[in-house]
Amino acid sequence: MSDQLDSFLDDYFAEAEEHLAVIRRALLILEQSIGRPRPDAANLEELFRSFHSLKGIAGMVDHRETETLAHELESYLRAIREGDTAINTAGMDALIKGAGTLEASIAARRANAPAVDTAAIAAELRGFAAATPSDARADAPVAIAANCSCIFTPSPALIARGINVDVVRARLREIGEIISAAPMITSQGAVAFQFAVRGTLTDEQAAAWRNDGMAFSAIAPGSAIGPTASEDSGAAAGAILSSGHYVRVDLARLDELMRMIGNLVILRSRLNDTVERSERHLPAAHYRAMQDDAEAIERELRELREGVMRVRLVPVGEIFRRMPFMVRDLARETGRSVNVVMSGHDTKIDKFLVERMMDPVLHIVRNAVSHGVESPEERQASGKPLAATLRLGASASGETVVIEIADDGRGIDAERVAARARLVGLPVPSGPLDNATLLELISAPGFSTRDKSDRVSGRGFGMNVVRETLQELGGRMQLETERGHGTRFIIELPLTLAITAAMLARVGDQVFAIPQASVREVAEIEAASIRALQGSEIVEFRGAPLPVVRLSSALGCRETPLDRFHAFVVGSGAAAVGILVDRIVGHREIVVRATSDPLIRVDAVTGATDLGDGRAVLILDVAAIARQARDRGARRGLAVVKDIA
């Protein structure tokens, strides 16, 4: 029972998120109509519809504070719409504040936090609605929708109560005319019927019938039945067609599919081993045939895997869509003028990456507006357009997705960066700083006044956390900046995550997996060439000193006396660290399984994988291990290393 409720709530939150996305976008468009005689009708209608739907679904899950606020937002929009009036800045701010609170109230429910108090903003909106010259009677029991859609989902319980499709049809005829009816499959896989109705539905009817499996939503709310009605019904039929072509899939179910494919990948590699071992026991023709089949299975599996991964992909635009909001607020606060230009937001990327990249992109965009963009006066003085342009772009190339964040502001001041770096004790090379070094410095731990601790308080964080997140995700970042012309961050991310190529390395009696994406280079190190230096160890590698860390001591494994080690070189430039293992024993694709329980959430371990024998092999975050070693080294005197360099 509670499982059903949970999945129902999950559906609610997923749907609410979709409406919020539409609302954010539509509000931005609406804002541009300030000062014009009348707002764009289609956009207004879309906004209205989203608030209305949100109100309906919030009511179904009994989240009263969300429902009430959505109702007031809807009422105010109706007043604007029916009053055919322009919208002013104060009204726009109230709408944006209302939408923000709406989002917060849904987020609070999702996090099982105490309900957000929406009463104050709801009252404020009611005031605005009342003050809008309008012939709308917002509090009168008028129809909540003139043209609406009704989805009826039959169930054994409803049928037992005598409520079937015919009864539903009869009821809909009571309120008006049924324009179209079509069967559809719900996201739970149940059969449902979707009706488009032209008629008048009261709140009471909607509420009473909702208990009978009838869910209503507006198609063209508030529009009078008249010459435009036939167009509306056409639009409704289109909506039905398109809704039937999509199903909403729970990410957890996709993960489950991915896990099953993972099991197949493991079985396949076991089969391959068996085939190889059978070679000398089999007639050559049989062996060859088995080998061919094993290869065919491998090909099919790869395609199956890619197919499921494609389902997990969502548009990068999901990362971008919050940005214009944030830029707008920040620009207003700081007296800047910024246009946001987005491109390639249809580029697809793994859902998980979208979630993890939200904060880093937000951080870079925030930095661009508050530090990169000049004041309008300053821009005028240097002959630039008064409004700055912030470009958010995404593009796909093969297995990577590139995200670019570019501003046309003042660029990064290398001298100030160098001064700040020296102040906090970071090694700064002499001479002019190139872009790579600049990025290195601004991403160094301790450079930003905002550090890791801020991530917990949710107030944004420094560039070092951006870099750490990217390393964790197997991504990379580049910086291009030019004084007076602007700054561009280029982020490269892998398309998907669940299966990854990894190196297998032995340390003592344990085997570990190291994702290839986090390794820059593999080297062989003579034990004799390792020199001790103030408690750290370094070797000479490609003519430069390379700090090394023995995985055995970082992980507390048994140490084996060896003449030579294999090393994974992680990070580049001054941040490079060599991680020593006993031997690299293999290289293969592994299925990543998260280790999320707090008991085993340790810095160096990101997950575990099964190599086919049922035993868990830990997947190491070598970037984190390198970082820890660097931090220790920094405390003990990186300066010494620098002197030798």
């Binding site: 993972g262 344990q510 992980l555 399984r593 329980d597 707090p598 008991l599 085993i600 049922g614």
Partner: protein, 149 residues
Amino acid sequence: MSAENYILFTIAGTSYALPSQDVAHVEMVEQITRVPNAPAFVDGVVFSRGQVVPAINMRARFGFERAPLDVSSRLLVVQSRGRSVGLLVDACREFMTVPESAVHPPGEALSGLSAQYVEGVASVGDRLIVLLGLERLLGSTEHAVAAGA
């Protein structure tokens, strides 16, 4: 009269029980992979039905000496608030319905370490069984992690 079903297991000679609804399944213990820097009472991780599950050594957790794994060692995979955790116990081979009337509050005798996660003591026939509360057990386990145990 109401009664609840329990899974019984032994740790260092004492009988304990968890409500059977909290126990997803019981497994033979094969390979446990050590996790560096994990709390001292966590022996490592195992794969259980495709999931990575931490294995808590209950002897270590309750302050007894570790014992080598043998044929009777079992891993109880329990579920609480979306987490799956394995409890490594000496043996587990009984299922029992305990009437509510047989359950007594922990009482003075069980003060101290284990009192935090004991829900009660059941006397069934001539046996005493310590009833554990999973939420409390895992909750105090997290406190132990925070305290650096």
